[in-house]
Amino acid sequence: MESGLNQPDSAGAAQVRVVLPYHLRNLALVEGDVLLAVTAPVTLRAVLDALEARYPMLRGTIRDYGSGQRRAFLRFFACEEDWSLASPDAELPEAVATGKEPLLIIGAIAGG
C-alpha cells in the first residue's frame, strides 16, 4: 500500500490532489490523497486521464468504458462546488490546479 501524497508522478507539471472513495483507494493500493502531475489546462478530463494512467486498475470504475460518462453514483466536488455536471473540458479552479484544494470523487450515500 503506497501513500499517493509521497509519490507524485513527475516534477514540473501541476500537482493535483485527488481524494478517492474508500473502495477505489483499496483497488489502487493507496492510502490518503493521490497526487498527480497534470499538464495545463487542468480539466476534469485531464485529471481523470492522469489518474487512470497512473492507476490503470481504476479504468472503468469512474467513467463507463462504453460511453466514457461519469458513473451515475459518483460525483465530483471541488472548492465546495459540484462539478459533476460540468463539461469535462472546463478548467478546474486554480486552487485545485495548484494542489491547494483537492478534487473529491464521492460515492453516493445510498444502499445497504
Binding site: P21, H23, L27, L29, P56, M57, R59, Y65
Partner: protein
Amino acid sequence: MSSVRVLVGTRKGAFVLTSDGKRKDWQVSGPFFAGWEIYHMKGSEADPNRIYVSQTSGWFGQLIQRSDDGGKTWHQPGLKPGESEMPCFPDKAPNRFLYDTSSETGKPLTTHQWYDGTQHPWEFKRVWHIEPSFSDPDTVYAGVEDAALFRSTDGGESWQELSGLRGHGTGAQWTPGAGGMGLHTIILDATNEKRIYIAISAAGTFRSDDGGQSWRPINKGLRSPYMPDEDAEVGHCVHHVAMHRARPDVLFMQKHWDVMRSDDAGENWHEVSGNLPTDFGFVIDVHAHEPETLYVVPIKSDSEHFPIDGKLRVYRSRTGGNEWEPLAKGLPEKDCYVNVLRDAMAVDRLDECGVYFGTTGGQVYASADAGDSWAPIVRDLPAVLSVEVQTMN
C-alpha cells in the same frame, strides 16, 4: 487426502470454505473484496489453483479478479498481486466488456424489449456467471447483463464478445427479468468443445455447436403463461439449467415455474415437476455420479420468494424427475423465509457426493451424503449469491 473448497459469492464479499474429504470440520476465509457484490466465482478444472471472480458494484462497475494460488491471494488479471503497475493496459483491460459492433464480426448495437414492451438499448451492467474452460486455465467465458456472452483466452486480461448470440436474430424479443436481463448459465461440454449451452432471463436457452460463433434458441416445449404467446420461440424466464457431464445431451431446467427435462440437447423439453409441492424455484443440479439424480429447492411462488410454510427443504429425484422426495434432515423446520438463488447450489465429486447450497439469509448448508442429511457450514454470511465447489483428490 481428498479435500473440497467451497467458493461463496455474497452481497458483501467472497468467502472460501475448505474441508477435508469428511466435510465435517470447515475453515472459513474471507471476506475477500469486502463490501463488493460477488455475483460468481469459479475455479478452473485444468488448474484448480486458478479461480476467477466477478466483483461488481453499483457505484464502480465491473471488475474481474483472479487467484493463481487457490484463493490465498488475488489480483486483477494483468496485475501482479500487491502491485499497482498493470503493463497490459491500455491494449488490454480485465474489466472492459464492450459489445462487439464491428462490421466484420459484430452487429449494430440494436435494442431489446424493455419491461413495458418498448425497445431499449443494450447496456452493460455486470458479469453474472464465469465459466472456465475444461482444458485451458486461460480460457474462460463470462455471461453478462445485458445479456451477452464474452470469452477471454488470456486469463481474463481481455474479453471479446461472442456476438453471434446477441445478434442471431431474436435479440429484439429478449426481455429483462425482475433481476435484470442476465446471461446466468453457461454449460460447456467436456467431450465436445464446440458445444455450448447458455440461458438468459428472460429469453430462454440457446445452443452453439461451433464454439460460440453461431447460436439458435432451444426452447421447444417450454410454456410460459405470462407471455402473450406462451410457447413462443424466445422470452421464457429460464432460471437455471444443469447437465451431467457424462450425458451432455440430457439437460434439466428450473424455469420460473416448471422443472423441465430434455433428452436431445435441448431440441425438445418436457415437464418433470411431478409431485413437487411447488415447481417454482431457482436452483437445479445433478448428482456427480448418478445422472438421473437431481436436486431442486422449491420456492413458494414468484410472488413469495421463500419456502412453503417456513420449512426449508431440498427435493431429490432419483428417477430423472417426476418422482421427488423431500430432504429435510438438518434443515430448518419452521420460521425459515430465505431464498436460494439460481447459482447458489453445487455438488462435489467425492465418492459420496456432497451437495451444497447458500441462502439469502447467509447460511451455507452442506450434505456429505448426497442430501440425506444437512448441516450449516456457516450461518451468518451476507446474502449468498453463488456457490461453487472444487474437489481436490
